[in-house]
């Protein structure tokens, strides 16, 4: 039922306590949206889910994140495996400094997927994100030459090409124009069939459009969470009501 179960997760940057006792479950094959004002710890929570926080030496983590029943913070965990199965789409598209083809092919290559039919995998992923028609004649061209919206779709294709089970998206439409943003949104909605999605957004409307499940955070604490319908219709907490009415935040 749940792909990820977060249990009493605490995160500190040096002395600063940025995530406080977060306990929440992420349902499988649904879209979970994390909302909240800037600086409340949304990105930190997201990065804690595939151990990308480890890159920062000043970070300290306590608590558990159970992925399919396994705590990914267990000392014996294969971090590479966790990151392969839980993919991340960053806020700003970052094409690797290589060709369009190689960007998508990089993941399958290192994981030894698709020996011999790499081209098919790349084609399929580029088609899945609706980029194929635009780039099929210049697969060998540098990916940095694409527009912002194209780059973000390329990054999505690249993430999906390693066949993750969970997809984390950190405000992945925030740096795009409205039309490209809608395009990415439509893609994400379509991905719900096959993946568990966790989206961070500070756009309440986007959360309304996409989310099956909502998590509302405030100053590092989880205020309220639940299925999207009731959450938006009758939020229980005063803080949530005020945030949704845009009185605070």
């Amino acid at each position: 039922m749940y792909a990820l179960s977060i249990r009493q997760l605490n995160v500190w940057y040096d002395k600063q306590h940025v995530l406080k006792d977060i306990t929440v479950d992420v349902p499988r094959r649904q879209i979970t949206a994390i909302i909240g004002p800037s600086g409340c710890g949304k990105s930190t929570l997201l990065k804690s889910l595939n151990r990308l926080l480890d890159l920062n030496e000043r970070v300290r983590v306590s608590g558990q994140v159970l992925f399919e029943g396994q705590n990914i913070y267990d000392p014996g965990t294969d971090v590479t495996d966790v990151r392969t199965r839980i993919g991340l789409l960053a806020q700003k598209p970052f094409p690797l400094p290589m060709s369009i083809f190689d960007n998508v092919a990089y993941g399958p290559r290192i994981h030894g997927l698709g020996n011999g039919h790499l081209a098919q995998i790349v084609t399929a992923q580029l088609q899945a994100v609706g980029l194929w028609e635009e780039v099929k004649d210049r697969l060998k061209a540098p990916a940095t030459g694409l527009s912002g919206g194209q780059q973000q779709r390329l990054c999505l294709a690249r993430t999906l090409a390693v066949a993750p089970e969970v997809l984390l998206c950190d405000e992945s439409t925030a740096s795009l124009d409205p039309i490209s943003a809608r395009g990415i949104e439509a893609l994400l909605r379509g991905l719900r069939e096959k993946y568990t999605l966790v989206l961070v957004t500070h756009d309440i409307e986007q959360a309304r459009r996409l989310a099956d499940h909502v998590v509302f955070m405030w100053l590092g604490e989880l205020v309220e969470h639940g299925p999207a319908g009731p959450f938006f219709a009758q939020p229980e907490q005063k803080l949530t009501q005020a945030y949704l009415a845009r009185e605070i935040g």
């Binding site: 392969t84 290589m98 990054c155």
Partner: protein, 332 residues
């Protein structure tokens, strides 16, 4: 809200300063001063290179016009008293000792740089980096002395005999031709120790400056540390690492004192790792100001300096071309 009624909202909060005012004029003066002074500095540097090259050409002109160039470059005898000026042994000695040093230094140095940049914690790095900077700053005479006290006996008593017994039986290049220990290997070894920290420092710097997003992206795709490092080195670091190697080469090629103390200073074409040899900078340093009464001697030494400059310049230009090509290829 009726905005037209609240006219105070549209009053500019800060009064604009007119372009002609004193403050603005002062800003423009500072701007053009900065441009002019930095431009002048660049000009002086360029002029300096030109002046040095011109001086060398003018002063070495007597010997360049007295002998054909190929005779100077390929001539193997150096007997100024008999009017024979063959530069070949010195050029060969310099190139050989630099190559030996680079062979020994480059790979360990690049890997050390990679290790420092990608694998250490910032605390370990903070402890190690000053150490490396210190190594860069040690004067060459100290390296030379250390070579005499430590490397020479090692090469003479351990490495030389061992190499002679094993590899030397098959390849004459490894045969111990000279029992003193002073020669290419000793000088090259100390030279390698000298350029090592330089290449480490630059490599580390280059890899650290790769965008953080790149590292994050690769790791988030499930790449291991090593795969991430490989990709960063190949896609973002290669031109910089190459530049580091070029820097090391130039440093090694121009090194004078440490080589002079260790290479044996015998003007011959080296054929073995253990041969004594002679380097261009050592030739100049050992002889300049001495028997200047010999005709063309001073001019010949100037020619040696010119050759030194030419090789370093040529190498740098070639490397620059490779780096430009690499940078272009990487964008693809």
């Amino acid at each position: 809200m009726d905005l037209t009624r609240d006219t105070h909202l549209f009053k500019p909060a800060v009064k604009r300063i007119a372009w002609g005012s004193r403050v603005q004029r002062w800003r423009r003066v500072k701007d053009s001063c900065a441009r002019m002074s930095s431009g002048t500095a660049v000009l002086i540097v360029c002029l300096l290179v030109g002046v040095i090259a011109a001086t060398l050409v003018i002063r070495s002109w007597p010997i360049l016009s007295a002998y054909p160039l190929d005779e100077l470059l390929t001539g193997q005898t150096w007997q100024p008293l008999h009017g024979r000026f063959g530069f070949a042994p010195f050029i060969a000695g310099s190139i050989a000792v630099t190559l030996v040093a680079m062979m020994l230094a480059v790979i360990p140095a690049v890997f050390s740089g990679i290790y420092l940049a990608e694998y250490t914690s910032s605390r370990a790095r903070a402890a190690l980096k000053p150490l490396i900077d210190l190594l860069v700053g040690i004067p060459s005479v100290v390296y030379g002395l250390w070579g005499i006290l430590f490397i020479i006996p090692l090469v003479r008593d351990v490495i030389g005999p061992w190499s002679d017994r094993t590899l030397g039986q098959v390849f004459p290049f490894f045969a111990r031709t000279n029992p003193s220990g002073y020669g290419l290997l000793s000088a090259g070894f100390v030279l390698a120790v000298m350029v090592f920290p330089l290449i480490v420092a630059v490599t580390e710097e280059v890899l650290r400056s790769a965008p953080r997003e790149m590292r994050e992206t690769l790791l988030a795709l499930g790449a291991t540390r090593w795969e991430t490092t490989q990709c960063i080195v190949r896609r973002a670091g290669l031109p910089g690492i190459l530049a580091a190697i070029v820097l090391g080469f130039s440093r090694a090629f121009g090194e004078t004192l440490a080589i002079m103390m260790l290479i044996g200073n015998v003007p011959q074409m080296p054929t073995s790792l253990f041969d004594a040899a002679y380097s261009l900078p050592a030739l100049i340093a050992n002889n300049y100001g001495e028997i200047m009464s010999v005709p063309l001697y001073e001019s010949a030494l100037m020619g040696a300096a010119l050759a030194l400059l030419a090789v370093v310049l040529l190498f740098n230009i070639l490397a620059r071309l490779v780096i430009v090509r690499l940078t272009q290829a990487q964008a693809r």
